[in-house]
């Protein structure tokens, strides 16, 4: 199975989503703006979805549909799913995570399932606190760590930490929050700009 590259923007938003709701399980979708190149998947963005009642169907279906529509309007596609469990010691995919990931893999061949490892999210951890799964023989299996790339990880980590310290996670809007107040933007354009600003001295693509 191919390589997966995770962009700074995608990672930072997922990270802030976890930090905004430390007591809840949270989930969201992974998007890509580029076509797949020889089995490699480049995750360029993430959309935070829920922080309550993850296993319930209606809002999940609604969110998937809306993100799908937005993707087709913006030349992106859904390539994966992420989740962070409320219980810090348990980073294994829940049945609902597997179900949603299955659904995504129906449309996207190299779909990725990403779980956050809560126990590794302390600021002194130097490695990305994530575990990735890929679909092999109809089962979700752990991905070989060497096929997961985070370009400029140190930079990404620094940006995430800096934004957490300034309390920027309060700017993040997930789909749940959007339903509480529909004037809030679940595509998080403002946050994207802020991340881009912090990353701009960096070279290369994001």
């Amino acid at each position: 199975m191919g390589e997966v590259e995770l962009s700074c923007r995608a990672y930072v938003k997922m990270y802030l989503h976890c930090c905004l709701f430390p007591r809840c399980s949270v989930n969201g979708l992974l998007l890509s703006s580029s076509g797949s190149t020889g089995g490699a998947v480049c995750v360029t963005d993430s959309v935070p979805l829920l922080h309550s009642h993850l296993p319930l169907a209606p809002i999940t279906q609604l969110a998937l549909t809306q993100v799908d529509v937005w993707c087709s309007q913006t030349q992106q596609r859904i390539v994966g799913y992420y989740q962070a469990n409320a219980c810090v010691s348990d980073s294994s995919p829940t049945p609902c995570a597997l179900k949603i990931a299955d659904k995504i893999s129906e449309q996207c061949e190299n779909a990725v399932l990403l779980m956050f490892d809560g126990s590794k999210m302390a600021p002194d951890y130097r490695v990305p606190p994530i575990v990735m799964y890929e679909r092999r023989d109809s089962k979700w299996t752990l991905k070989d760590k060497h096929t997961i790339m985070l370009r400029q990880w140190e930079e990404t980590r620094a940006i995430a930490t800096q934004m957490l310290e300034s309390g920027d996670q309060a700017l993040l809007v997930d789909f749940d929050s959007h339903l509480d107040d529909i004037t809030k933007d679940w595509t998080n354009q403002k946050l994207n700009s802020k991340i881009a600003e912090l990353a701009s001295p960096a070279n290369g693509s994001m």
Partner: protein, 296 residues
């Protein structure tokens, strides 16, 4: 670092009143409580009178939530000095041990309380919380059921149980808990809406019809509940699209779905002033259009 009083231009009385409001509303805005409470305690303790004890309790719990064990310990020690034999304070001591993941010791504290007073609901609920924190959902569910047999009116417990069942995908039992809550809180739109979501998730024509009815009820109680509005739209659409329904049922549900669509569009257009939600407005519009096409 600037003090809270300076940053927000408030007096110590404002801070004290804010803390009271947060207590009354049972808010879990722990970072704010810690900021305001810590300053109040360290600089204005003498002015607070007897209020200080309840403030120590409130700040201590908030401090545990923010991993501020230093502050939590300070508050706890003050409370222990003042109320040496109190069960209420012992429970706080247990909570601190829970926060430090010393679950066995915490459990012992709660067992000691229950030995003395078997009707102490707080201690029983903390023991269930420990099971939940350890990921022992089945045991937590079992204990919570036993608890509810004795304390059948405990709303918080019924809601907690419904959440546990939802996480275990046991939707039938989750629905039962929500039914209890709706009976005792008939004006609470959130319970109706959650019940609708559970029924929708269970699936099947009958459950979809029930879901639609409860989403409608939630909207009657609060016409701004967007989840209920979308839920109504989706359940009516699915019923109308089902090959198993009569022409009349199909027509009725298409009417409900159309009504929901117009309400949704209205709600989004009303918020259109904000440049921020342009993307979401467009996404909703297209989604509603595309779902109409598949239905007709």
């Amino acid at each position: 670092m600037a003090s809270v009083a300076d940053m927000y231009d408030v007096t110590w009385e404002d801070m004290r009143d804010k803390l009271r409001k947060w207590r009354e509303d049972n808010c879990r805005n722990s970072e704010q409580i810690v900021d305001v409470g810590e300053e109040l305690i360290s600089e204005h303790a003498s002015k607070l009178g007897d209020d200080i004890w309840i403030i120590y309790e409130q700040v201590m719990i908030a401090a545990l939530d923010c991993s501020r064990d230093d502050l939590a310990l300070t508050c706890l020690q003050e409370l222990e000095k003042q109320f040496s034999d109190s069960h209420r304070v012992k429970r706080l001591s247990g909570m601190r041990l829970e926060a430090l993941e010393r679950y066995d010791e915490a459990g012992k504290d709660y067992d000691a309380i229950l030995q003395d007073d078997p009707t102490n609901t707080a201690a029983r609920k903390r023991k269930i919380s420990i099971l939940k924190a350890q990921g022992k959902s089945t045991e937590a569910i079992r204990e919570l059921n036993e608890y509810l047999e004795q304390f059948v009116g405990d709303q918080e417990a019924w809601h907690e149980l419904s959440e546990l069942y939802i996480n275990e995908h046991d939707y039938g039992k989750a629905a039962f808990c929500l039914e209890e809550l709706m009976m005792t809180n008939p004006h609470n739109h959130l319970y109706c809406e959650q019940y609708g979501e559970v029924k929708y998730t269970q699936g099947g024509l009958e459950n979809l019809e029930l879901a639609r009815k409860y989403f409608a009820q939630a909207l009657r109680l609060n016409n701004r509940n967007m989840r209920a509005l979308f839920g109504l739209y989706m359940s009516a659409s699915h019923i109308a699209a089902s090959p198993k329904v009569s022409a009349k049922v199909k027509k009725d549900n298409m009417k409900y779905a159309a009504w929901a669509t117009s309400q949704i569009n209205r709600a989004y257009k009303a918020g259109h002033g904000a440049k921020e939600n342009k993307c979401s407005v467009k996404a909703v519009e297209e989604m509603l259009e595309s779902m109409q096409i598949t239905m007709s």
